[in-house]
């Protein structure tokens, strides 16, 4: 771009003013968003339930008096309080090793939420960064990364994750790695596509003419227009990734067995289906409600922020 001559150097004051302006807009947007959420009861409900899960997960060790990994064998397979033989000591009953199910479900939420937030966050970060660069610059790097993305897409998701966990072995980092290794592609494709159309817009041309560098244009001009879709996709993907995590744990390919995760709890209860239905079913309900809440919130967010993505 030799024909483009910077008109004037942007001073520090201009920059500060710029950021103050931006902050105002963001604040306005946030207030708008909250108002709109308020008028979207299902999204509100989802948001509140999700928030409740987060709070409960954070406070888990302070809520219950039991150790999630230590049980009392004399109390094994105690039914929940509403069943015959249940007591308030163990409101949701106990598992085969006499461990309090409520405690374990509360602690399990920490695993699901941590894995969910982390893998979605990392995927969104990697996918957005690569998508923005590839969409904006194109060229050989775009070619290579796009081909690699296509290749990853030719693996069914769960099979890919199972294969990776088989080779990596159980563990938190490996779990996040296995889930992230493929899910960044979704963000990559979204951002790359959006970037391809954004960069032909006049405001990008204007920014170029005014002497902004490519990186500044990407981060300050185009990305703010794309980031809403990224948020929507991130919310919608998080529920899916939590189910994936639970599925891996169910197969015994998630975290080491001593850490309570919902999927492995459901799996452990399978041997006692005949005598103790609650051991398997209740952790599953915890997953279902959480994912339902996230999806409700995500679809509400999509209706508000990015109606173009809506399928209905």
């Amino acid at each position: 771009m030799e024909d483009v001559v910077p008109i004037k150097k942007v001073s520090m004051e201009d920059r500060l003013y710029n950021w103050r302006l931006r902050l105002n807009i963001w604040q306005g947007n946030l207030t708008d968003l909250l108002t709109q959420l308020w008028h979207h009861p299902l999204a509100m409900l989802g948001g509140i339930v999700l928030l409740a899960y987060v709070v409960l997960a954070l406070l888990a060790p302070h809520i219950t008096v039991y150790d999630p990994s230590r049980g009392n064998l004399r109390e094994r397979l105690t039914p929940p309080v509403w069943e015959e033989g249940g007591t308030w000591d163990h409101p949701l009953g106990t598992d085969a090793q006499g461990r309090d199910l409520l405690t374990r479900i509360l602690h399990g939420s920490r695993v699901s939420l941590a894995v969910g937030f982390l893998s979605v966050g990392i995927s969104a970060l990697i996918g957005t960064a690569l998508g923005a660069l590839c969409g904006f610059f194109g060229g050989w790097l775009d070619n290579i990364i796009s081909r690699f993305a296509d290749l990853l897409l030719s693996f069914p998701y769960l099979i890919f994750a199972i294969g990776m966990m088989a080779f990596l072995g159980p563990g938190f980092t490996n779990l996040v790695l296995a889930l992230t290794f493929k899910s960044w592609v979704e963000f990559f494709r979204l951002v790359r596509g959006a970037m391809l159309s954004e960069k032909t817009q006049e405001y990008v041309e204007a920014a170029r003419v005014s002497g902004q560098g490519a990186l500044a244009i990407i981060t300050q001009e185009t990305l703010p227009n794309i980031i809403q879709s990224v948020f929507v996709l991130a919310t919608l993907r998080m529920g899916f990734l939590i189910i994936m995590e639970a599925s891996l744990s169910f197969l015994g390919l998630g975290l080491p067995a001593r850490i309570p995760a919902w999927g492995s709890m459901v799996s452990a209860g399978r041997d006692y289906l005949l005598v103790a239905w609650w051991v398997s079913t209740l952790p599953g309900i915890a997953i279902l409600v959480l994912v339902l809440a996230i999806n409700l919130f995500g679809e509400g967010l999509r209706d508000i922020l990015d109606p173009r993505l809506k399928v209905e």
């Binding site: 693996f155 294969g163 015994g252």
Partner: protein, 336 residues
Amino acid sequence: MRLLKIVERILVMIPIVIGVAVIVFLFMRLMPGDPVDIMMGQGGAVSAGEAARLREEFNLDKPLRVQLGIFLSDLLRGDLGYSYIQKRPVVSLISERLPATIELALGALIVGLAVAVPVGIISAVKQNSWIDRLSMAGAFLGISMPGFWLGIVLLLLFSVSLNLLPVQGRLSQTVSLQNITGFYVLDSLLTGNWAALRSSLRHLVLPSITLGLPMAAVVARVLRSSMLETLRTDYVTLARAKGAPETGVVLRHALRNALIPTVTVVGLQVGVLLGGNMIVETVFGWPGLGRTVVESIFNRDFPLVQGAVMMYAFIFVLTNLIVDIIYTYLNPKIQM
């Protein structure tokens, strides 16, 4: 013309399959643990000479590049390697288990489509009615539900509480069946073995529902929304104005075009179906490829895992090819 495009598609598939193979190979070789140690068991009671001989036999003494070359050329000849644990070629192990998996996937596909297509059509035609709201709430529940949990709840309900359906496996132990194709439903039809047919269908019900319902949820949502779109088009209005019967308008004019985006989603769902397979086969003790993979992961039988993962990826690429072909026939505007 069409044939040429199909051939082109198949040619495009080749680099994808090779890429998949390379990734699988690299994962396999870069993971910690010596295959020979695994083969000999944890005891390690093998002489150094014996270990070296085995290493040579499986080409593990050669550099990685050479190993990759050998792996790929074996693959071209349909050789997926040798299971150290089961002491048999991987290909024969896979081909033994594959019919069970395909039978289950087809069952799930039938359940999924049988639920999704009518639900999608009715919800669109009667948009915002109670039946639409109810089905879409159900579909929303379906996409938020972990498959393994649905399987366990169905087991609890129909097998444990009501005692209506079998808990595990593909066939009752009291029934014998001559194995011809490995597809039990087909085999019992071929041999006219009605007891076996009844038994294998009964075993198929719950796993198919478990695998099929989440897929039905996704497909019904997409079909409904694309039906809503096509029902609003001018050609549908025209057909109505001509006085064509409503059923004909819905099925012939609207549905045909609404199927185009739906077919794509069904194709992608096949991938979900294949992954869910491993879960459902584990829940219902279904002796298919998915359970084999899970078991061989715990046995550290990596050649078998590698071969099966390759097989899954191959089936997935193949189904997407088939979907592409169906797609062109549905939509003459697209010449692929």
